[in-house]
Symmetry: D2
């Protein structure tokens, strides 16, 4: 089990997250590509720290919406969405490869991520966009009960998937995350470590109604903001290292 985290989400004079402190605990850095966050300097810095810490680099492309931090859904044509993916992945590659690092995978951000998980047609377009990129890259998506459908779709595109689960979010019985606005949707540090342990050891999560749901994940997403972010990341790192040894 790996740990992935959204990083490089500052912009210009504005900071976000604690990139440098988090890097030692994570395996995969999802780096913003300038459309929801991340200007070239911020991206360069994030790549630099990822490289220093031997962290795998993923492009974290988004809808073009700086003001809304890519959290607002937008309807784009298929060709526009693919152009937008290639632009953002390429931009990060331009920065990363010139620093001697490389981009390994793509994880769509925010509303684009939610939209593709809710709409199979959109997910297929995103898959096509990543598969059509000139270098082979993996695509990181959410591990859901539909994972086999998603795997079949990816196979058609000859695309490698990385499935991620959320250690710090309560799951619904259908495998979706409980909406953030609802009480209890975001787990505290202790619950989070517990859920992570269950995910790693059993490949399961206990849902909001108490059912055990099978969730097969390659990587756990941790969040870089919030007061406990660093502490949670450190505990997850220890947990994973302990279970692996």
């Amino acid at each position: 089990m790996l740990i992935n985290c959204d990083l490089g989400e500052g912009f210009g004079a504005w900071k976000m997250g604690q990139d440098e402190q988090l890097m030692p605990y994570v395996d995969q850095a999802n780096i913003a590509c300038g459309f929801h966050a991340g200007d070239p300097v911020v991206m360069q810095r994030a790549v630099h720290h990822a490289k220093l810490n031997h962290v795998s680099i993923g492009a974290h492309p988004a809808y073009p919406d700086l003001q809304g931090f890519g959290r607002r859904s937008m309807r784009l044509s298929h060709s526009e969405l693919i152009a937008l993916l290639h632009y953002q992945i390429g931009a990060l590659e331009g920065v990363a490869q010139s620093l001697g690092a490389s981009v390994d995978y793509v994880k769509p951000h925010g509303a684009l991520y939610n939209d593709m998980m809710a709409d199979t047609d959109l997910l297929d377009i995103v898959m096509q966009g990543v598969a059509d990129y000139h270098r082979p890259l993996s695509l990181m998506i959410q591990a859901t009960p539909n994972w086999q459908t998603h795997q079949h779709m990816a196979d058609k595109h000859r695309l490698t998937l990385l499935f991620e689960a959320f250690a710090d979010r309560r799951y619904l019985d259908n495998g979706q995350l409980q909406p953030r606005a609802q009480p209890g949707a975001v787990l505290d540090a202790k619950q989070c470590i517990q859920q992570a342990r269950q995910l790693i050891k059993e490949g399961k999560v206990t849902t909001v109604s108490g059912h055990n749901l099978s969730v097969k994940a390659d990587t756990l997403c941790v969040h870089g903001d919030g007061e406990e972010a660093l502490s949670i990341a450190a505990q997850l790192r220890s947990l994973i290292d302990e279970l692996a040894s």
Copy 2:
């Protein structure tokens, strides 16, 4: 002698220039990378037409200034400028290579171009930025009486230069272009062809004061906007093909 042209300078709903009509006449397309013009869809379309017409593709990076079309000078730190070049070149590569095309060279746009031609230190940073890019790319700069200095600088960076001359602009005795605002600074179609012929056959231009100035250029820049743009491009194409045969 080649012909280069700034293309792909629309943005969203806004058009600029006549990309499709101009492509058949040019050898090199300087394609905007999103900072002064050109969104991912516009870039994809420009690359597509360049590829159809076997036109060499250059990245046309700019200061981040959509509202000012990259024509406003901006002081950036060295590392910021380099990050910004890698981002924009990479973004175009992401789009281009995914369409089976490749980026061959870099030509800075607008104020960035003017600033680097006026400031040797800045030119050196731009050279470093292009040289540090992970793939070898040429840099297109203006052919001036200082071309040997520029060549030495480029040699240190192991960078290939492409020198360009302007067929449609009046030259000053010092080899700079007469400022656009001055009367006579922009040549009409007839004068333009005449100056192009002189540049190609003799490697010289007649300056505003009547002197003959040596200008050794690899490529002539034509402008894609203006009513006569297409006609001038067609005439230049004929002239070059005629002189080459």
Copy 3:
């Protein structure tokens, strides 16, 4: 019956529409406020020409989406939408009043317009936003078979409505416009004048299925782009002046 037109939709170096030529034919100029188009200079120029031609000025606020020209739907919170309206209306007022002109009404643009016409809750928020503005302004919305509901809603906000009809678009039986993508949705010049005559004289349009639909409008929207825009505007002007005399 008045004529309204979207104007001031250039941005930076990019032009759109034929503002100066259209102004003499229209009564109301919907001027972009910088979020989908229109920078301060473009806005200043549009206001200047509106004032010269004694044209009433309306704010034409949009979702923050320059790249998508405000044509992409975006879900905003209520308070965000209201803040966004006040910002854009205020910005246009700052420019207009300093030139001795004033803003008379608000007409939301593109996706925001479509969204509010399709969603009564959203329309209510827009009404509240305009009603909460510190000066009384009218709100321009589409004249539909639901106009009485809309009028009741506006009355609660003590808001004056301006109802607009479309001379150049085919109507469906339910009073909505036939989607642009469908053949025949956009009328040619001759059909357009015919429909305008029917709207003015009878307060009706003949729908796509041949029914006569009652459409009570205060103003007709003409489009500023397209080759025939000027000619249509001139013919509408003549028609209205002729019918009024």
Copy 4:
């Protein structure tokens, strides 16, 4: 003596400064207008807190440069600069007046502020821009040894000036601030209070070389970021209240 502070400098998901905590200590809030920081929601919140704390509201317009936080100099035409001022002031007024608050003054931000203080012609354009605004507003500029020249210029425009001094920056003998990059340029909390006391009681500052320089100021600028910002603001507030009683 009053206290002014730059506030409302967040953007979208990004925070900056500690607006709510600072408001009780300041008399004048310079609120960003969307060009270097501040979206409509951020502006609305800043206005709301200013009003709650009976703080005077100033527009804090900037060059259009979100990525550079308005700290990069840009050459604009005179008419563009004036349009840009009217747009930004108007936008803030739209938000403020709709909340029952009003804008009292204008203080240009960052590079625009520095440029106008270094270039009398530019300062004259800024004065004209503020004077041409449709409502009378004061202009806040730096108190320098040239204050009488500036006062004469303002008189011609019938413009009221507010002179500000910096409590937390070391002055050069010529009345300019020591560049931030130089050691000792930014005063610590203790030095800052000492310099404030000297400015208030004697109208003087002790420069870097030990000279006493006359600086007649109406208001002291405090900075909202930095760890000590709150503590310094609180101490300045106490100092001013104590000296006034």
